[in-house]
Symmetry: C2
Subunit: 251 residues, 2 copies
C-alpha cells in the first residue's frame, strides 16, 4: 500500500485524487487545498494548512508551474519524497529540504470530463533508485503505463504535447467558428475529428496527411482564401498550408 | 436496390466501392478506372473506357476536383443522375447533359486504413426532389447519416474540415518531429491525441481548451520559444499561441 498526499486541487490534482481513490493499492491520506472549502472528497480528508500535513510515502504537488517552488517550501518536513506533476518544470527546481521527483501524467484534464486512467502515460523522474521504484509502482498501479523521462526530455515532450493537444484543440475552435458563422452544425465534423486522431494509431502522421495543401491543389486553396472574414483565420490557413507544402517538398 | 457506378478509384472511390459492396441494398454495377489495371474488385467489373459504361441509377464521379468537369463530359449518356464527391466543387459545375448532384462523405480516407462507414456524415445535393430522395436513400443505406447541404454551405464545411483534419494532422506531424529529434517515442503522445479529439464529444472546443497559452503562462511560453531549432515550428508556435490568447481575451 502506498500512502499519498496530493497538494493542490486543480484539474490535474482533482483527477489524480479520483484515480488514487479508485486504485486499491494506493491510500490517499489527505488532500491539501487552499481554495477548495469542503472538508472531504470521496471520504478523504481535505486540509487547508501545511501544519496539518500527515505522514505519507509521497507528496504530490499539483499546482500552477509558477507556484511549485513556493508550495514545496511550505512543506514542514525533511527528507521525504516530494514530487511535482508539471511537464515544463525541472525536478531540480524543487527545494533541497526533501527528496525530489516528478510524476507527470501526459493527458489533457478538464474537471467536467471523466478521465480513464488506464493507459495514460505517466512520466517519472527521481534522485534515487528507491524513489524511482516507488514512483514507478504508483504509476503502474494507477494507469499501467510508465516512462522514465528526465527533465530535459520532459520539456521537449511538453512542447510536443502543446502542438498535439492545445494547438489541435484551438483548430477545433476555429472550425467551430467557421461552421457557426454560416449556421452549419459543428456536429457534422465530429466523426472526422475522431477519425483523424484515431488514424495515427495505424499510420504515421506524415502518411496520414491528406487535403488540398498536400495535393498542391491551388484552385481549392485560392477558393478557400477568398472565404475568410477573419484575418487571423486567414493567416493561420496560409501558414499551415505553407508548412504542409514545405514538408511535402522535402519528401 | 440502387444500381451505382463509381468513376475514379482514388482514396474516396476505393472506400466508396468497399462501402457499396458491403451494403445489401446497393448494387455496385461497375467501377471505371483509367489507371487501375485489374479487371475486377471484389467481384465487381472494372472498366477502363467510357464507351463500356453500363446503365445505373447513379454515376458517382470520384476524381480530383480539377478533373470532375472533364470526366463528367466523357459520360456518353443524357439525362441520367451524375454526382461528384467533392467538398469544394459546386454542383453547377457539372455539365448540363445529365441530371446533377453531390454525394460528399465528410471523412478522411487513406487506402491503407479501413473505413467504418456507419456514422460518416454524407452531404447530399440534387436538382430535383426525386434525385435528392434517391441520394438520401443511398447515403442512409451506406452510413445511416445524411445531411442536405447546398454548394455554398458545403464549401464552408470543407474549409472547416481542412482546419479540423488536415491542419490538425499537420500538427501531429510537427509533434512527431519534435519528439523524434530528441529520441522520444511519439507513441507516448497517442493517448493524449485521442483524448483531445474525444473530448469534443462532451465539451465545446472552447470549453475544452487547456495549456500555457490559455493560462497566459508567459514563463512556460518563453521557455518553449528557446527550444526550437526549426524557425517554421517557432512561427507556428507563436501564431497559434497568439490566436488562443486573442480568443481568451474576447471571452
Amino acid at each position: 500500500m502506498i500512502d499519498v498526499i496530493v497538494i493542490g486541487f486543480g484539474n490535474v490534482g482533482f483527477h489524480l485524487c479520483k484515480g488514487f481513490t479508485s486504485t486499491p493499492s494506493v491510500n490517499l491520506v489527505q488532500i491539501l487545498s487552499q481554495h477548495f472549502t469542503e472538508d472531504n472528497f470521496q471520504g478523504v480528508e481535505i486540509i487547508h494548512d501545511f501544519e496539518n500535513l500527515a505522514k505519507a510515502d509521497v507528496y504530490i504537488i499539483s499546482v500552477n508551474d509558477d507556484n511549485i517552488e513556493n508550495v514545496a517550501n511550505k512543506i514542514p518536513f525533511k527528507n521525504r519524497l516530494v514530487v511535482h506533476t508539471s511537464g515544463n518544470t525541472q525536478m531540480e527546481s524543487l527545494p533541497n529540504t526533501n527528496r525530489k521527483g516528478v510524476f507527470y501524467p501526459l493527458q489533457t484534464f478538464s474537471k467536467q470530463r471523466e478521465v480513464l486512467w488506464k493507459g495514460i502515460p505517466i512520466c517519472i523522474e527521481a534522485q534515487t533508485a528507491d524513489d524511482l521504484r516507488l514512483l514507478k509502482e504508483l504509476a503502474i498501479a494507477v494507469s499501467g503505463k510508465c516512462f522514465e523521462i528526465d527533465s530535459l526530455q520532459r520539456k521537449t515532450l511538453h512542447l510536443a504535447a502543446v502542438f498535439a493537444s492545445n494547438f489541435v484543440n484551438h483548430l477545433y475552435v476555429i472550425a467551430d467558428e467557421i461552421c457557426t458563422e454560416k449556421n452549419i452544425p459543428f456536429e457534422i465534423l465530429k466523426p472526422l475529428i475522431v477519425e483523424t486522431a484515431n488514424k495515427i494509431n495505424s499510420l504515421s502522421p506524415l502518411d496520414a496527411q491528406t487535403g488540398p495543401a498536400k495535393r498542391f491543389d491551388s484552385q481549392t486553396i485560392q477558393d478557400h482564401l477568398t472565404n475568410f472574414s477573419d484575418p487571423q483565420q486567414k493567416l493561420l490557413y496560409e501558414i499551415l498550408t505553407k508548412s504542409i507544402q514545405d514538408h511535402e517538398k522535402k519528401l
